[in-house]
Symmetry: C2
Subunit: 306 residues, 2 copies
């Protein structure tokens, strides 16, 4: 297979990091930027990383998607609160076989994007990474960094595998996983902790230190696992919830992305992190009352909804 070309839509903490790693490994990557465009044109893209810092002095930077070339692979790192923007952002980048990888949190993203772009090959990218864009053109990668790819609708197995290979060769731990299982597996952690750190104004360690919230977090994890099981994903059980509890106990005190959004008065990703998975579970007869309650509390707290 010829060398793949990439575009990054949403050059932030996640899209920016993976795009920079691919660029550094010699791949052709085109970055769509918004507020950081002028800075990156002038100064390049800087990555401060636990795996070693690097600067890309010259990157293919754009502030208008219509000036970008069509590519083989689009990496989407947008906040899912802006998902609707993909309807106008993606078309200039796509040829019929372009693989669009949604490196975003939540449930239902691929379903929506597929509806907007029928027949387009889609995949999920599930990033396990602590990373933040703290200043223009500067990504701070704190720890972890692996990514799992779940094939949603890509018939071209060679293309899908080539993307996984490109990530591996760029020094990223990457592998192919089952799409639905991977999205729901990540939701087991995301749904309790993203919302609860906002609703209770507390970081992960404080929530786990109090027996009442510790129990509630566990019950919420079991709701996600129950929903996944109801949807035919039978690989998750209470042992996985216990593993996630233990993993979080061992983590540094942590504010998930939704808590950061809340703290900085940005809209929270309630739709794809809560409303959609709750609706998908209900459609097969499974209720998630605790996470539905959390969703309602978050909508009350969400700056945009008030």
């Amino acid at each position: 297979m010829k060398d793949l070309t990439y575009a990054v839509v949403g050059t932030g903490a996640i899209g920016g990091y993976y795009g920079a790693k691919l660029t550094r490994a010699g791949h052709e990557v085109h970055f769509l930027l918004h507020r950081d465009y002028d800075f990156v044109r002038a100064n390049g893209l800087r990555v401060t990383s636990c795996d070693g810092d690097f600067l890309l002095p010259l990157v293919n930077a754009y502030d208008d998607v219509h000036t970008m070339p069509k590519v083989d692979v689009v990496l989407v790192g947008l906040k899912s609160t802006n998902e609707h923007l993909l309807r106008s952002l993606l078309p200039p980048l796509l040829h019929p076989g372009t693989l669009v990888v949604l490196i975003q949190n939540g449930i239902g993203l691929e379903t929506d994007v597929q509806e907007w772009f029928p027949g387009q090959p889609l995949a999920a990218g599930l990033a396990f990474i602590c990373s933040a864009k703290t200043e223009p053109g500067h990504i701070r990668h704190q720890c972890y960094g692996s990514i799992n790819f779940g094939n949603f609708s890509c018939q071209d197995d060679a293309l899908f595998e080539a993307v996984v290979d490109d990530f591996c060769q760029a020094g990223i731990t990457a592998r192919a996983v089952d799409y639905a299982e991977a999205r729901w597996r990540k939701a087991v952690w995301n749904m309790p902790f993203n919302g609860m750190t906002v609703a209770m104004h507390a970081q992960t360690d404080v929530l786990l230190a109090h027996p009442a919230t510790r129990q509630l977090i566990y019950e919420q994890m079991m709701e996600v696992i129950g929903a996944a099981n109801a949807l035919g994903i039978n690989t998750l059980d209470e042992r996985f919830a216990q593993k996630m509890m233990q993993m979080t106990d061992e983590m540094v005190p942590y504010s998930p992305s939704m808590r950061l959004d809340y703290d900085f008065h940005r809209p929270m990703e309630i739709d794809y992190l809560y409303t959609r998975p709750i609706a998908e579970a209900r459609a097969v007869g499974f209720e998630m009352p605790r996470l539905e309650m959390l969703e309602r509390q978050l909508r009350f707290l969400n700056a945009d909804d008030k």
Copy 2:
């Protein structure tokens, strides 16, 4: 029937108000006081009320239950967080036929007190009143004031009815109601609003103005109604929930007692307002997941539990 003698244990916003009204109507009432004892001995008990202010310059005030006489009726106005104190406070006041009326919020109070005092006649007093003790010996009665009496274990019908009559003759709207229905009926309002005004840091009007929390409050009311139905109380349905929503829409913005406790860093009445009704419902196979989640959030927020 001879004139009944009364004792008030917990001379606060509720017990103080009803005791003062009975005193003013000519009944013999003995008040147990704690912090306000010296002030009330010197200055009496003052009621500022929407129905007319009055001062009782001389009341039967005590700071030690062992100096009080045995009475026919004990009105308990303690916070239920102090329920265990009744084990030592009540015995000096009781003869075998003394009726103990628990004018408190929650589910399970009479069951516990009965266990401590087997055979003692017990009743519930369900007060619908906006009242506060804002200074020593001074009760501010803002509005409402009716009280429903539910007979829990009083075999002496004449005694029970005489108490209701005494309240009526003292100018209070009072009536006898079915015990279990009355306690659960009140829980339909109490369980959603007490906890949610604390958890969401918002008064009743703000919670009802946002569609997400309005929906959640309604769902929580329906959980209480479902629990009551499961326990054999079949007089409550969605129309009652709708009526409670409408009544609250028409109220002034309100902070329920739990919110005041939270604001003033007093322990919250989580046990009898949440833990017990949830346990009673679970014992007959009915789950209340949203109110159980709220209970866990409140335990996290409760000053004493932290």
